[in-house]
Amino acid sequence: MSFLVNIIAALIGDAASDRVVPSAGTSARLTVFASAAMAFLAVFALALSLAAGRVAARWSEDLARNSTIRIAAPMAEIEAEVATVLTVLAQTPGVVSAREVSMEEQRALLEPWFGAGMPIEFLPLPRIIDVTESPEGYDVEGLRLRLSAEAPNAILDDHETWRSALIAAAGRLRVMGYVALALIFGATVAMVTLAAQAALSANVQVIRVLRLVGARDAYIAGAFVRRFALRSLIGGGIGTFSGGVAILLFPDQASAESFVVGLGFVGAEWLWLLIIPLLIAFVAFQATKAAAFRVLRGMP
């Protein structure tokens, strides 16, 4: 956290040294705007990364303990096969419980697609058995072999294919969020550097005079650094606040299982919003300092 101390010390500074450099005008105002925009974007990139991470974690936990067996057999054989499967499952180590999904539950599952009141009793629906695993899981290949011998119409779905694809997608999304964050901070560095360089070259003569009367480089750089870090902090604060409000106004998250609606911060994650403006200010601080010392090195 030493950069915090640095920034605070630099922001306090002394008023006189701020007066010796003329106000930076447009470039300072543009710095506020650019920092605000970047902070706003950073909030979203961060929310994206965190949400993707959460989704990946949930999928790997929930789905790992659950698999289903689907039995699509001719009406005559179906009851017998369901009973066989249940027996087999009862004998499989690693299976905590097995339960047939009732007609009512199937109706509830299908309702969003077919609408209420659909007489699904008359549809040749497969029967579904919900299997809950112990944390260690069961021998998937062994169970599959046994089922193919004893209940040839039963299909075991351990969600593995789905799960790995979804987790990979969520992981990729999280990485993209972090890459976006890095790019945002990189762009902030570029913009602040350009703004600081503009301010510095507009004040070459002032800097020269200050050197002539005995100002140390750190003093001169400090006057610019303070200015740009402060503007970036203000802009970063405004942008982060707006981003946070925009995230809060996102549709209800508690009920939402889907990823997009789950975009947001949970609990302590909101603390990240305090860090974004500080990071933006820190990045501006370093960028201005580097630019100032580059200019100063070229002066006697």
Partner: protein
Amino acid sequence: MQQITASGIYARRLPELGFCVIELQDVSYGYGHGSDLILSQMSLRLAKGSFHFLTGPSGAGKTTFLKLCYGELCPNAGHVRLMGQDSATMARDDLALARQRIGVVHQDCQFLDHLDVAQNIALPLYVSGREITEAERRNLTQLVNWVDLRHRATALPPELSGGERQRAALARAIIRDPDVILADEPTGNVDWDMAMRQLRLLVELNRLGKAVLVATHDLAFIRAAKKQVAARVLRIVGGKLQLAGADL
């Protein structure tokens, strides 16, 4: 006009006479690569308590010589030592510290146009990076009065006349009680009375132990000075530094 003496302003420091603050040793200088040397093989020691005039025709290199003396330029050959350190190799912060002990009246004044006259005069105090003391504030007021700029203290430099600018430049050069005063044509635009007042101030500061080097065309000014102080008169002729004799 308020009568304030320099010794009243700077009675605090005792001179250590003889300490060499700026030393040029076989210094040669030419602008740009391969161009002719403007100054060649010049040596000079500015010791505390010494008083020098530097003359020579326009374009002879007086300003260039002074720039070497406060490290704005570094010699092509030879060495310039500021407070004992070689100006070509000393650390940038050390150069800054040395400049805080060298008061310079630039020929073109070098003000910050966005600060008013009083703030420009106080600039060497500001850049020290510490709070300005009450005593320094009083000095500032006295000095602004002394150079007759009280009524112009809140004006911006571009609004000043040539003479007013030079008076402000002299005030800025001495505000921080430097060990050396380098003045480039300090009397170029002021009337005789003001020139004599500036001379009296320089002489008094010199008596307090400061090294003084004044570059000027003004031979009458030099003659007037020689009546008050034992000054050496140097002349740049053909790129060489000579000691002027009684022919002045």
